[in-house]
Subunit: 146 residues, 4 copies
């Protein structure tokens, strides 16, 4: 969205296989499913960073999506392997952004995009990110903690 | 499942139109979506009976699905009109069953099936159905209230 | 995305009701389902314009999504009514853009976004839009046909 | 459905992790997603048997679902690991049945069910199963080939 977003180099990769249910009558994956895969990517990113998303929710912190964009390059098909490459943008006190690339078994880019998030409590009221979570993310991506 | 289930005559009909997202690469509706439509059918059945399902949940009563079966007769396709015909089986003190027929614009049967449910509280602990709900359902279908 | 996109005033409105299956454990609609609703919006837009999308596909013209963005304002919940307001951007010879607003029963904006599309043949090879389709869309939105 | 169906012992296991998108506002997995997982189970069963389902489709043989049933025992939740255990019933000349158990990380049964299928050509006209496919399935499960 914005020009020149900060994106950290740290990548978490996770592979999935296209389900029959994810295809549509055009014979390829229905377009919103790529964005479902983004969600799998950030689940695995948080797990790799040592702060599983489910655990965050259980501690009362939600990270709902406030915006998404996706650009489609090549279609994925039933039973294809797809690798989700997830990276993180700068973690602000109130929200964060994830960036995604979806790559086919031949290494070619299928789609790319990003999701924007805020931190909220269980009532979905916006909150500031707890300092320990911010520090953990920052350490994981090697950012200076301001 | 069981032989000769009690099914009341009272039918609630509701029509939907097939979404592109509901198709699969076979060019027809993906099979689990018929069962999603069953859910729409029982939502409308409860509304017609005067006890909207959302209201029941807000009052602390959940009716989770404990079993489902569906038999597929003819495929539905993108942009087809489909009518969901929902009826109810006998309401026990601990659960109930809904029966469904999905019918195309030509009046032909697309699929039929049933869902079995129990009543639970918000923690999903089984409960007995509150008497006022049972009475309302019974009145709606014209059953004798035992 | 782009600055100052051309958006025509002609709006096609279509209302849906939130399905239980569309919610997630946060208690609100799962974010990709808003984008599924966008698809319903453009299906109804094409129908209103006199060129049903299914008919276009049957005549060998596909309009796959090449990009999508969505910004979320307020959550929708199970059984809420939602109105999809769809408008069209300028129709180029090779593609077009749709713009969407999702509005709750209280008239408040739930989400807004756009989808970008190209025209392809049944093998998904890009094609120029057939002149009769371009003319029909232009007439529908009141655009000058260049 | 029928009493005492033939079920072969050969089991193919495949594990998945529950996606956020698969949950509903009850906080657990939406019930039709268990049946989507059945489909993943039979995809992996066919692959293990040496006849990948995608390859069958590319050779012009479809195996659409003609019926499904599922009984729910325990809910699965976001990020849970789930193992799909798939077995096959007797392969007739015109169709076959798969049986499924979904098991949680603690080894407890979450759900079980079956899907019934026929063989069709690409126009979805019923056909007899090609002999080489029938033989392969029979060899895989150790059945006598009648």
């Amino acid at each position: 969205m914005s020009q020149k977003p900060q994106i950290f180099d740290r990548v978490v990769e996770h592979s999935i296989r296209v389900r029959y249910s994810e295809t549509d009558r055009m014979g390829v994956v229905y377009h919103t499913n790529y964005i479902v895969w983004f969600e799998i990517g950030r689940t695995e990113f948080c797990r790799a960073a040592g702060i599983p998303y489910r655990q965050m929710e259980e501690e009362g912190i939600l990270i709902p999506v406030t915006g998404v964009d996706c650009t489609y390059r090549r279609p994925a098909r039933y039973d294809d392997g797809v690798t989700i490459r997830t990276r993180m943008g700068e973690v602000g006190s109130r929200g964060l952004t994830f960036f995604y690339e979806l790559v086919g078994e031949d290494g070619k880019l299928l789609a790319e995009g990003s999701t924007r998030h805020i931190f909220t409590d269980l009532t979905t009221k916006p909150i500031r990110i707890p300092e320990n979570i911010r520090t953990r993310f920052a350490e994981f991506v090697g950012a200076e903690i301001s």
